[in-house]
Point group: C2
Chain length 375, copies 2
């Protein structure tokens, strides 16, 4: 795909700083992709998402196929025009959501039959239908249809699941074809078993993808075990393609994963936490509903340049959160996405300076200071 | 109050185009004030409210005294700093809300004792406490504490209620005093009885206020009867002071009231309707939840320059509304506030051109065309 490239500009240990160059714009890596499940990054206008520094967002195939429907989105000019976001969009395959959200699921070699969690309507997701839906949505980066192996899993179960995903990856590649301006990423599975991860990585490379995701992590194994897998899994994937760790994660997860060679991330954590009153800051998490913030004139983070920190006190955020006001979700989400993008920018700069280890140490030291000093 | 002036720049029939000149900024009249009940114009950032063209917003004394509390707001620098809105703020007196929202109400000559609808806590609102709370909030324009006479009312009931409000107006003026940079508006009552309205207007003018509101309308009497009162009530109030019609209204209410000499308005309609899926447009109301919008690629109003109309189809707005996404409230509210401010700007320009009657005719003609043509 000549119009879809990955350039590595700097390396620091296993970490890489680079750019995914796509027709709709460059994605600076390591990159964090805010999640726009149903055609909106919740509580944010697209121009605000852009202002946080996001180069790409993620859309959920499962949600969009059910409502408003992929054909509907296509008729309306595709997902970019539909949701007014002109930069790149990555869509997942629907595989994860169908297994966690849908009802009456039946998984076979062909794919997954299920009932919509919205209206009970019957649907089918398969490698072929997932590729078709992602094509109709018009996403820049599509994901191969896979089964995210549930955790924990016995090794034989994990192997069976992974090999099904590899057959589906082959069918995904065939169904997707080679579409100018669009990329398809394969997804490594294999749970926490290094030989299965190796087998999966080899299968994917034999098929050939424009990028490679690490799937099946952040599913309950905990950070220590996730990092154990990340100590070897990224290195099994091609060095010259972007590596995307799906569904991760907390700020310290991101730092640890970048240190281990991951280039791309997505997670609902900054947006969902914003709506439930948790703010991520350099000094750790602030629970804005806590009564100790009720009279605090200070911002969430005095060093943060986001609109929430520039314009509002913790007391205000506490008040609007307690009052159930929409602006609480708007400001807290904006802050969290800003924080995440600042974290990624900090890591990119540190890699360029050959100081990612130092960055990670300072990151941990500041977090352990905890929130703010008492007034 | 030398630092609080009202200048009339043009007249057209009974309508006036002018400016309330306050230390925090000029309020172009006729003016529409978006309602920011609990320290936020719901679903909007303050900079977005400003972008719609609003020169002033309204805050609700009743809500703010209960949560977060007026002393708390004062400690945090006042309502402007608290909610990050630097232009003028008008606060109501709490009189209307306490009678419509609070529990265990007991109205006496002294004021109203009540229980909070939030936590059941016992409170008192009186002319003196209302003035003190509005002072703590730091609003630019305070309202006298009054009883909004319920509708319908027998004439003797309306007279008794109005005379209580006039005694309270006197106590409000005395408690407020003469505060540099801040104005106090009196409120005319008298239901739909012209002699009571006249008596009320005289009482208020004997006390003397920086502006005069028309209260007790838009409480169920219907537009025809409201306009009957507005045919005479504004003319009873001083010509050289701003006249504020409280809690009004629909777009055609505003046009009719401006024609009758009203300068200021507030209403929850554009914000509340935004959240419930009604958009006001030049061609009438669009109910975005209606299934006929589900595949419509056109904006709410092709002639509107608001972000919702510039960036999004009806199909998108329908989708995010049905999906319960916050962005639906954000975009629909923005559109409605933009529409209201455009309407006011249009009336100001028409008054300057001596063509308000023509404006009103075109306004009605366009509304009667109805929504948009079928695709």
């Amino acid at each position: 795909m000549t119009d879809f490239q990955f350039k590595i500009d700097a390396r620091d240990g296993r970490a890489r700083k680079g750019r995914v160059i796509a027709p709709r714009g460059e994605i600076r890596t390591p990159a964090f992709m805010p999640v726009g499940t149903a055609g909106t990054v919740k509580a944010m206008l697209p121009e605000s998402v852009m202002a946080t520094g996001a180069d790409i967002i993620l859309g959920n195939t499962y949600h969009l196929m059910l409502r408003p429907g992929a054909e509907r989105v296509a008729e309306l000019g595709g997902l970019h025009q539909f949701m007014n976001w002109q930069k790149p969009i990555l869509t997942d395959s629907g595989g994860f959501q169908v297994m966690s959200l849908a009802e009456l699921r039946k998984l076979t070699e062909e794919g997954v039959r299920f009932a919509s969690h919205i209206d009970g309507g019957r649907h089918m997701l398969s490698p072929e239908s997932s590729m078709e839906i992602q094509r109709l949505l018009g996403s820049d980066i599509a994901m191969a249809f896979d089964e995210c192996t549930p955790f924990p899993a016995e090794k034989d179960i994990a192997a069976t699941s992974m090999r099904l995903s590899m057959r589906w990856a082959q069918r995904s590649r065939k169904a997707f074809g080679d579409r100018s301006g669009h990329a398809l990423f394969g997804i490594q599975q294999g749970c926490v078993f290094s030989d299965l991860r190796e087998e999966s990585a080899k299968s994917l490379q034999e098929i050939g993808f424009e990028g490679y995701a690490i799937g099946g992590l952040a599913v309950g194994e905990g950070q220590a075990q996730m990092f154990e897998v990340l100590d070897y899994a990224p290195g099994m994937l091609p060095d010259d393609k972007p590596r995307y760790l799906m569904g991760v994660g907390k700020p310290d997860d991101l730092v640890g994963a970048v240190l281990r060679g991951v280039d791309m991330f997505d997670c609902v954590l900054p947006t969902r936490s914003g709506r439930t009153g948790q703010a991520f800051t350099r000094r750790g998490v602030v629970n804005i509903k806590n009564a100790r913030h009720a009279a605090d004139p200070r911002p969430l983070d005095p060093d943060c340049t986001c609109p929430a920190c520039q314009g509002y006190s913790r007391a205000y955020l506490h008040h609007v959160f307690k009052a159930g006001e929409i602006i609480a979700s708007m400001l807290m989400t904006w802050h969290n996405l800003h924080y995440y993008q600042e974290l990624m920018a900090g890591m990119r700069a540190a890699i360029a300076d050959g100081d990612l280890i130092g960055f990670a140490r300072r990151f941990e030291a500041q977090r352990s200071e905890g929130d703010l000093e008492p007034i």
